[in-house]
């Protein structure tokens, strides 16, 4: 058990259960790794050393007492800093929440604790999950472990980088327009956006409530499935939580068989703006699915070309409303309260000082889209586009079981390249946004390195709502076949840190 940090979550839990290693040893190995590499990577905003070791000790005590351990007991996890954690700082990557200690746990946090998962700390992110590069964090950007001068994706760049840097075998992200899948794609890791409503949003600081969805991040499809089952399920504290059984994703991840499945290649996700090496690896993955016995057909979803514009009206509109809660009155930063200023002036000064450029941009854009005179043309039309996109998905899924596409049009771009060019940044989410608008399920998993830059390429799989198990069935089969072909998992090829 020399290289504890390289183990999968499934193998780690099995080793702890069998008594081959203690949960404390596993946790300590990851804390040591964070100590050694996180100055370079900057995946973590806060490391909860004491809390993690206490949780690990509790797992070891449970085992010593002869209690049955769950499938992820003692496995360390990196939690995106957008979920509240009682007694542990939660900033959402924003100065406006710097130093805030939530008085309660998010439902997802509670589920992780109930599963005896060891929470190592909170990961870096674009401020309030707005961004595709983690450059919008108020606390510095995160480096991509494949090349520290490149972005790790966003908004969940910290969670994805923690996985790729072997700082944790599991992580949690949230996906509003691709913030789990795009970081997964550019770091060579697995990320899943579950069906909207299947993972509770209680205690998830809201960005765009009709799109936000928490989900699992891991280095393998099976690990993601184990985490998916730990966090999903009905929650009475979230009024949009689906009250239905969670699909059997772990079982699906183990099937490794796609014979007889019908797979649709989305015609619209190709062409101008798509990197040649990304398309090459994607085409190879499609060919592989054919070899594995799936039937591959081309499908057309013409409304998808309007998904990006619709998203950049809907998400900022909801954000402008959600972020009104940061008013400097009940929690977080307060600026300029010198006795001479009104509450309204203090609110405006605090928001000016506490929000970063992208958050301000989206609040103004959302306020514009919702203002009278523009509402019908912008927000109203965007809502119609949302219907058309759902109809395109429905039509496609009438003929196929899942859809596939590249997760992102390009590999990881250099830090700084798109930082002050919002439209260029927004293009990173071109292929991921339709699933958020429709609320269905989607996964990204590594399908190779682009030949021109040796950086990871993500394969996106999309399934109908509440058919999340199909993602894992296809993903598990592709992962197994690719690992056979390469002789090792893709992350083995990442440079040493």
């Amino acid at each position: 058990m020399t290289d504890l940090i390289k183990l999968t979550a499934a193998d780690t839990a099995a080793a702890i259960k069998a008594g081959q290693v203690s949960a404390v040893e596993v946790t300590q190995a990851h804390l040591d790794r964070i100590d050694a590499v996180d100055k370079k990577v900057n995946a973590f905003l806060h490391v909860d050393t004491e809390g993690a070791l206490a949780a690990a000790r509790a797992v070891d005590a449970k085992r010593a007492a002869g209690s049955e351990l769950g499938p992820l007991a003692g496995v360390p996890l990196a939690l995106k800093d957008v979920f509240t954690t009682k007694g542990v700082p939660t900033t959402c990557g924003s100065k406006i929440l710097e130093g805030w200690i939530p008085p309660y746990d998010a439902t997802l946090t509670t589920r992780l604790k109930d599963a005896d998962v060891v929470i190592l700390g909170k990961t870096n992110m674009d401020e309030f999950a707005m961004g595709s590069s983690t450059e919008n964090s108020a606390f510095g950007t995160t480096g991509n472990p494949w090349d520290l001068s490149r972005i790790p994706g966003g908004s969940g760049g910290g969670s994805a980088a923690a996985l790729a840097a072997f700082e944790a075998p599991l992580a949690i992200g949230t996906d509003t327009g691709g913030s789990i899948r795009q970081p997964g794609a550019v770091t060579g890791t697995v990320g899943v956006k579950p069906t909207y409503g299947s993972v509770s949003r209680y205690g998830l600081v809201a960005f765009s409530s009709s799109l936000d969805q928490g989900g699992p991040c891991a280095r393998t499809v099976l690990d993601a499935a184990l985490l998916h089952e730990a966090i999903a399920g009905h929650d009475p504290l979230d009024s949009t939580s689906i009250n239905a059984p969670v699909p059997a994703v772990v079982e699906a991840a183990k099937m490794r068989d796609v014979r007889g499945m019908r797979i649709g290649v989305v015609k619209e996700f190709a062409g101008e703006g798509y990197q040649a090496g990304v398309m090459q690896r994607f085409d190879e993955a499609v060919e592989l699915l054919r070899e594995l016995g799936a039937e591959v057909v081309e499908v057309s979803c013409p409304s998808f070309t309007l998904a990006l514009p619709a998203y950049y009206l809907i998400a900022p509109s909801e954000a402008s409303s959600n972020l009104a809660r940061f008013d400097a009155m009940r929690y977080g930063l307060r600026v300029g309260d010198d006795g001479s200023r009104s509450a309204e002036e203090v609110t405006a000064l605090t928001r000016e000082a506490g929000f970063g450029a992208e958050v301000k941009r989206r609040i103004i854009l959302g306020t514009y889209a919702l203002s009278s005179g523009y509402y019908d043309a912008y927000y109203g039309s965007a809502q119609k586009v949302r219907t058309l996109i759902s109809r395109d998905f429905d039509a496609a899924f009438a003929g196929v079981d899942v859809l596939v596409s590249p997760t992102t049009p390009t590999t990881a771009f250099p830090i700084g390249e798109r930082a002050d060019d919002p439209m260029a940044m927004y293009l990173a989410d071109l292929c991921t946004i339709p699933s958020n608008l429709a609320g269905n399920a989607a996964m990204s998993l590594p399908c190779g390195l682009a030949p021109e830059d040796n950086l990871p390429v993500g394969l996106q799989i999309i399934a109908p709502a509440m058919a999340d198990d199909r993602l894992y069935r296809v993903g598990g089969a592709v992962e197994a076949a690719l690992n056979d072909k390469w002789g090792h998992p893709l992350l083995e090829e990442a440079p040493a840190l």
């Binding site: 200690i101 977080g332 009104s342």
Partner: protein, 98 residues
């Protein structure tokens, strides 16, 4: 589609309670003009007879029994407050003096 002016951005900033600096107003007006130009394509569907979707799930009211449940103490609820007094959030003056 009309472009967005600096004055409009200033108005939107007031509505959103953002005390933007002069240089931010200039920069934002320029960027928002580009973004709005790009997203305005959605109005292609404005005339189409398509019902709007505001949410991916058919939303219905969720009720729970009207029973007392454990909740935060006032001390916990005030733990993150910038200022508190007598178990309440202390805020700057809300009404003008005249």
């Amino acid at each position: 589609m009309p472009g967005i002016t600096r004055e409009e951005v200033a108005h939107l900033a007031r509505l959103s309670r953002l005390e933007l600096q002069a240089e931010e107003l200039d920069h934002l007006a320029e960027q928002l003009d580009v973004i709005i130009g790009a997203v305005a394509r959605v109005s292609e569907v404005a005339g189409q007879d398509v019902p709007p979707t505001s949410h991916p799930l058919p939303l219905t009211n969720v009720m729970r029994p009207d029973e007392v449940r454990p909740s935060l103490t006032s001390e916990q609820a005030l733990s993150g407050a910038p200022a508190a007094e007598e178990q309440r959030f202390r805020v700057p003056q809300i009404l003008g003096e005249d």
